[in-house]
Point group: C2
DNA sequence: GTGGTGCGTAATAATTTGTTTACGCACGAC
DNA sequence: GTCGTGCGTAAACAAATTATTACGCACCAC
């Protein structure tokens, strides 16, 4: 079972066409940041910001390597994930969310 | 297979703790709008706005009924959904997204 | 009439997210 | 030295989302 805050993080990370595009590119194999930026047509700082969200959600990882030319290249890799969502899963995850508890309503409104 | 824009709509709708809470409440059975608002502790217009997003994503439906007291009651029901997400599913959905196509990078960057 | 319940919508404000520009570092090739 | 490649970050700005307040409609009970 997934924790509520983790679920929110993952869903939020995925709820962006730009980030989905980035994941799609990376699903075909790891890329270094500048290449990824060129691929998806975004500026480097923007890719940086998006990657930060994907990483925080655990959807990508990155490692820095030295290229033959002496460049510090930051390679980004998709972390394999499998997320199954149903209303029941949502309800269970929400139960672990910090914050306001649902208020008990009387049962007579339930039909 | 899910269409890209539909996926974005669903993920965006779910990427909100408030809306997840609403879904969790509704997963336990349908509620009318004011009751739902009280349950999640939000103002009615706000619930309205959130419901609009959930409905646009096909995650809830609503119907208006007349109560015994003559009130027009708007009942909201969760639409059963099952969403399975993996990097491959994302990539396939992204391929159907309108907008900038991924640019072909030469293969030499791929290691 | 007042007060309670329900409903939808508009306008406005506040907050969050997204994006660009700019700065500066590194290395190697010329 | 300049120019090309790579990198991270900050600041400023724009856009989008979220939330509140207000308005007005309906019905019923008293």
């Amino acid at each position: 079972m997934v924790e509520g805050d983790e679920l929110v993080r993952v869903l939020t990370a995925l709820a962006s066409p730009q980030r989905l595009r980035m994941l799609a590119v990376l699903a075909g194999g790891r890329r270094y940041v500048s290449d990824l930026a060129r691929q998806v047509g975004l500026s480097r700082p923007l890719v940086h910001a998006h990657l930060s969200k994907l990483a925080a959600a655990g959807l990508v990882t990155s490692e820095t390597e030295l290229s033959e030319e002496g460049h510090a290249m930051r390679y980004v890799t998709v972390t394999p994930f499998s997320l199954s969502l149903t209303p029941e899963v949502v309800a269970a995850a929400v139960a672990t969310l910090p914050g306001p508890d649902p208020r008990d309503a009387n049962e007579e409104n339930k039909r």
